[in-house]
Amino acid sequence: METQTHKPHRPAQSGSKADKKGKGKQKTGFNEKAFAPKSGRRADRQARRNVERDEARLHVPLVNRTPDDEPPPVIIAIVGPPGVGKTTLLKSLVRRYAKQTLSEAKGPITVVAGKKRRLTFIECYSDLNSMIDIGKVADLVLLMLDGSFGFEMETFEFLNILQAHGFPKVIGILTHLDLIKKQATLRATKKLLKRRFWNEIYQGAKLFYLSGVLNGRYPDTEILNLSRFISVMKFRPLIFRNTHPYLLADRIEDLTSREEIRTSKGRCDRTVTLYGYLRGTNLRQSTKVHIPGVGDMTIKAVTNLGDPCPLPDADSEKRRKLSEKKKLLVHAPMSDVGGVMYDKDAVWINVPGNFTRGATDVPHGEGERMVIDLQDVDETLEETVARSNIRLFGSSSNPLTIDTRHHDGVVSYSDDDDEEEEGEGEDASEGDSEFEEGEDDFSEDEQANEGSGKDDEQARTNPSNTGRHTLRTVVRSTPGFSSKEKEGGEVAFADSDSELGLSDDEGRGRAGEIMYADDEKQISSDDKEEFDEDDEDDVPAWKIGLAAKASAAFEDLNRRKRRKDWVAMIYSSSLGPEQIVNGANATGVKPDEIDDDFFRVNSSSAANQDDLDMTKEVLSPGALREWEDEGVLDALRTLFITGDHGDGEADQETNVLKNPEGGDFVDLEARTAQPAPTEFEGLDAGTRALVEGYRPGTYVRIELASVPCEFIEHFDPRYPIIVGGLLAAEERMGYLQVRIKRHRWFARTLKTNDPLIFSLGWRRFQSVPIYSLDDHSIRMRMLKYTPEHMHCYASFYGPVALPNTGFCAFNALSGETAAFRVSATGVVLDIDRSTKIVKKLKLTGVPFKIFKNTAFIRDMFTSALEVAKFEGASIRTVSGIRGQVKKALNKPEGAFRATFEDKVLMSDIIFLRAWYSIQPRKFYNPVTSLLLSDKSSWCGMRLTGQIRRDEGLKTPLAVNSTYKPIERPARRFNALKVPKKLQAALPYASKPKLMKPQSKQTYMQKRAVVLEPEEKKAIALLQQIRALRKDQVARRREKQQERKEAHRKKVQKDEAKDAEKEKEKKKVYMRAAGMKSKREADIEEGRSRKRRKT
């Protein structure tokens, strides 16, 4: 068969169609005419809109306090409802970065992600407290959503928490997409969820899709993509975090002595150290900190530790082997990494079934290496100690000997009773390291004193185990330490040493020796001690050789330090300010007293005035007499612009002078020409920490004293521990006024004086707010309930937060409710020590005697004293007659005379509107969730109703509160009677026109009507016609009824038939649906099994 050929389409070569297609207008794809404004007004509007949009995009520039060179790790929180795959994602990401699979991922996990970026992953347990805390520190949130289920309440709650505390970056991650089988449904679901997600975050927010789980991890390619997104993420500084130092603790340790715990049966307050990277601003030692869930703490000590997870530098990159076997750095003390896990009071080492010492080709985990190192020790602590010659004082002849082994500090291994045979070796190595550390300390001190940049070589033998050598704090006895200096902090300042040295003879001798060496120095002994803080306290044998070297260095140092060392003298000497200024030996001598007698009078008065707290110094003509000398005067000329100056900058300044008008501007330029330094360089570590605190990005150990024991006992690594630094103001308590709005998803209204849990600043606490609204800018008027869809004010007692800090509030934190838990959000407006909220109070009374415009009122007050208090107050009747309280009456107690603008009635109610000021209750209850064994079961103050429900009590019923039918006796009004005489005198129009009803019948009513014969006939005919018509209609209706009946029957028949059909259809459908649901249930079961497994 021949195939049919179609005529091919020939495009038009000419005409309008050819014109349209051929010409370039469509090729460019943008027709500028199409978007050009049609009118000038429209153009104006468009331009304004564009400007507004651009303006909205702008933010107030905020200085980023995070250092660029070594920033702290970025905190990436993995948040989502339970069972959504958080742990799987965490493990997958850690594997991506560290090439290790964690068997147990708990607590923060820090990995190196690039040259300048480290990441700290933390999984957020889906408990509201954890979500709040994580929301305050996370830089990036991986918000996980179950694609097969959709959004859950936790997700929305978390987003609202984020919004209240500054919004960090959020990446959405959809999981469980493999459970959606049908491609179309999958697409639709993705689209739907994406749209909702975009609505919540912003249009175009990143949403990732993770397909199924392979080998307990998400597919590597998808994780790789995710990690690329993470690596390029940029972070905007958030105001609150940019003004507070904080730290996400990745390790916790209890330093309390075992003995104390034993004697108090574990109920004693603990000394706890927390480890972590500092973030936000610089942390000073004097800063108070708040640990959400625990409370406010005072920092006992801060120690700068070596970075456990350092950024790669050129050196480390050189050493690193590229082999995949080499495991990358991961710092996760709370998880089980490399077989080592740090618990609150022990270090757990997991050793695989077997390992051989000789096999160096197989890389060992950290724990394995520890155990192997322990086996390397060939002498015990006892032997080591016996060998060493520690002398208590430099003068002691015999070295210290140790009879019994004793441990100070906490030896974390000793708990482990499984490894008894290793116990000895362990102790030895521990002692060794301890010993080395002591040595280290000394040499460091010494170096600091000498000011030489010599580095100590034996700093750390085991760099990968940086944190461990600081397990114990070396507490040196400091007898010469004044209490004030102790307050100053534990930064090892040299003066303690020098004072220590002075306490024993040997040290003093030595100090004298040094004094000899620089006798030309004016600042005498006391002063010098600042410099020669040296090693004379208990110099061990191994250090004796250094003495000569040290003294040589001192001479050098003193020569260089011709000037006073002001920092040391001011901050770490016990000299008085006068002694510092005048030199230590010029104590009592006043310069005035040297002068001749003429000025004696003045000087004695000056001595008297010295006592005063005065700003100006006493002008002594004697001291100023030097200015009579011409030479002295001329010497000062160089300080004036007119004076001659040798250097080049003079020219510049004369230039400045040439332009006197623009002087200020030039001055400004001159001042800003030299930029301020960004950091204190060239200071030794101790002074630097004192001056600027600890910089963000450093790994520190914070020691806290008197921490509640429950914190340690009920420690659970799944819950984040945040150490939030407080500003000076935030330590105080006060009344906060906030602008608050009930969340529109929160089902109930909020009531004044009902407790509310606030998450404000670092803190979570319960307080009792009073809601109020501004009443015409006159007063703050109390509200009983929060208004709908409107902001109102709330005032409550609590810890001060800076104005403009956002917060969110909850009625309960427990996860039992299915409803939305964020009950309100808002912002702090004002801090004060009192509030000005009033509520309306109406006092009512009744008149008991009425004169013209005066009435006596009773039942408003109970005593004449009360009346006296309200004299002059304005009162009003219900009908609106205004009046004034005048004076109390004698007779009925509490009655008073009042005047009105018109005569009041006896039936009037008189009321006095007053404003009663109320103060919020001083109730502050921190949410101490971390102190509980069950972290989510915190229960604060309950409402009366809740208590009754819990206790099974009945609500007491006050008799006065019951509703009774209101009986209002009908008021009888007497008829208005106008006296006859008056009536007569009235004009007609004003006369009351009272008429009786007509008693006689009218003519129309009483006349009789008789019909004519024709009329009768006509009426009869009409009647007949009507009767016929009636009959006709009745018959017609009957017939219609019959027709209808027949039709109804027919319809019924049809319906029955249809129903039959429908039933059949339904049967088929239900059978199919049943099978489908059964299938789905099977799948669901399979999934939940899977969840349990993970």
Binding site: T615, K616, E617, L633, I641, D667, R671, D830, I831
Partner: protein, 364 residues
Amino acid sequence: MESRSLVNFSGHQYLRQRLVLSILTGKHVRIDKIRSEDKDPGLRDYEVSLLRLLEKVTNGSVIEISVTGTAVLLKPGVVSGGPITHDCPLSRSIGYFLEPLIMIAPFSKKPFQLTLRGITTDDNDLSVDLIRTVTLPHLQLFGISDGLELRIKRRGAPPEGGGEVQFLCPIVKEVKTLNFVDPGKIKRIRGIAHAVRVNPQFSNRMIDASRSVLNRFIPDIYLYSDVYKGDESGKSPGYALSLLAESTTSAIHCSEAASTPGENPEDIALLATRALLSEIRHGGCVDRKHQSLVLLMMVLGSEDIGQCRMGEPSVRTIQFLRDIKIFFGSVFNITPADPTDSSNTELLYSCLGTGYVNVNRSLA
């Protein structure tokens, strides 16, 4: 929470700065052994008056003075500001009361409108002229400028006083970081010579005497003669000369001398002039009398490094630095301004600001 750090001090000295620091940080302060060894123990009337004034400008402060008056406990409240009037006792001048309040005023809830009555110029404290012409410009270094004003309504010389000043101060959210290391060269000298209830010629005599010394240095000298008459001149006779020298970089050095019975105006003028010269010789960007103010504002600055070049610290400044360490935990790094020149005694004070934010400022 409630066991808030209580700071303890002993002795009556440096009372003002300790009270100021306490109010700024909110830390409770207890000062005991106030003249406990004196034959007239306890607080003086002006100190009690200062405490009263501090109570007026704050809301919720609790001040407890022991029965003997030798111990004070201050639980500071919120600095509220607003219109306040205070009569200063005649034992100290207005400067005594104004100096601490200038440190507090920028951090109040409402702008300060403080009226003080008493002695305007005396030998112990900064006179109102110096506060107006020197202290307030120092505040401007930190961004406190709009609406900052001191009006001298009446002058009052000791012993009877009768002066009145009005101090207006705006509120700020936070103070700027100072970087002031170039002292520049002195470019002009200004001065105010005032005389009340004495021959108006006295001020001219003072001006002439002062010019006789200063004219050699610089031509740009304006010394104003400020004569108050009638009701505005207070109750006692007196005269004084206050001088200030401003550098090309707006560094200001000042001095003044007030009349004492039996001294002629020329001597007073010479005293003030020579004091100004020694102040200039002392060097730095900040006058010695204002070291504490500038250092405090540096500590209160944002969390950047502020630095300022000054002369050697005065006795009060040293104690102030120590007190700052106790209250704020801030420590200054003090290094020689010019390490190469050993004869130069000027020092560079640098510190990291605490990022102090005015919490009292209301948004409502």
